[in-house]
Symmetry: C2
Subunit: 207 residues, 2 copies
């Protein structure tokens, strides 16, 4: 049963270090030092670095989507819920250790070399798109499938732009774009200016 505590500590260290410095730039010994777990036990929990990387990405996917969904679910109106996604993004972008999308970063670093990483990134994107699809469907969009695709594009664009430029305001630009796309898809009850509707108490994002 201590095994699962060791696993948690390892994944915590892996997430901080891999996300903060890149996968290839962080060695197994650094994860041992940060987690306090012996190297022997590390290799008992995860047979190789690639296995640890995959576990890190899978857990991060669950936590990231969970935090996003928790924030969005707190918005009462289904019509504005899709826009609340971008408020959560803005809070995330403002966190000091924000460094872009963990999945895009890992994929860019090793996509060609690691099938497990490529699949984790693909799965994450598919899950996010599915989540957005549910939101726009509940918001009453006509033809929700292409709208979900469009919002997913805008979300990814906002994340990468915010990462490279270091400017969290990319979220606001993305929100504006999303409002236009939603209105064009027949989602009513959303006026482009009425941002304060989804502002206010903002649960802390999980990075």
């Amino acid at each position: 049963m201590e095994d699962i505590e060791a696993e948690d500590r390892l994944l915590d260290a892996a997430e901080t270090l891999f996300y903060g410095h890149g996968v290839q730039a962080v060695g197994m010994d650094r994860i041992r030092a940060a987690s306090g777990v012996s190297l022997k036990r590390l290799y008992q929990c995860f047979a190789s670095k690639e296995e640890l990387v995959e576990a890190y990405l899978r857990r991060r996917d669950r936590r990231w989507r969970g935090a996003l969904a928790a924030h969005v679910a707190a918005v009462p109106s289904a019509a504005v819920r899709p826009l609340a996604v971008f408020d959560w993004l803005e809070a995330w972008f403002g966190e000091p250790d924000f460094r872009g999308c963990a999945f895009i970063n890992a994929f860019g670093e090793m996509g060609a070399g690691s099938a497990a990483v490529a699949e984790a990134a693909r799965d994450h994107k598919a899950e996010v798109r599915g989540y957005l699809l549910g939101l726009v469907r509940a918001a009453g969009a006509t033809d929700p499938e292409p709208l979900a695709d469009q919002l997913a594009l805008v979300v990814d664009g906002a994340i990468t732009t915010a990462a490279v430029t270091g400017a969290p305001e990319a979220a606001a630009r993305a929100r504006d774009a999303a409002a236009v796309l939603l209105a064009a898809a027949g989602v009513t009850g959303v006026n482009t200016e009425g941002r304060e509707k989804t502002r206010g108490k903002r649960s802390r994002a999980t990075g």
Copy 2:
């Protein structure tokens, strides 16, 4: 004068290898082997790997934007020229060695560790946004600045989505979104359906 030929050969090899496999995954010896330039000369041309990486990114920025601009300039109507960007993207996404945005990939891999790489990525994004701004301004958009931001987001989203999913159709979804955003910004002469207007002879993208 052979020096500039050696430099070109080195940058060609660097671009193929760094873009295809990631920066950290490619060693200097592999670039020497692929370029046919001796290691001594390599270090005469570029004093360190970081210098070579930066030169690779700077040259790629010029070539990438040049190829995009050449394709877009061939479109007669200023109003549809912004949409032609996405046709060029679609052709690029379909190339067999497409692996996403070189700048986002390099930034995700080393952004925290290399100021030169981070700056090259930031500069590239700024240049692209400036180019889009010129396009939407010429297309007659009201308030072109935020529209340029929005289109830049959509472009980045399309690139990363196409890279991770491997589906070039992300460009078509992005084009649809861009058409909606352009129409909302008062650019006339663009109907969302009329895609064939910018299709047709399509100059080969440069990767």
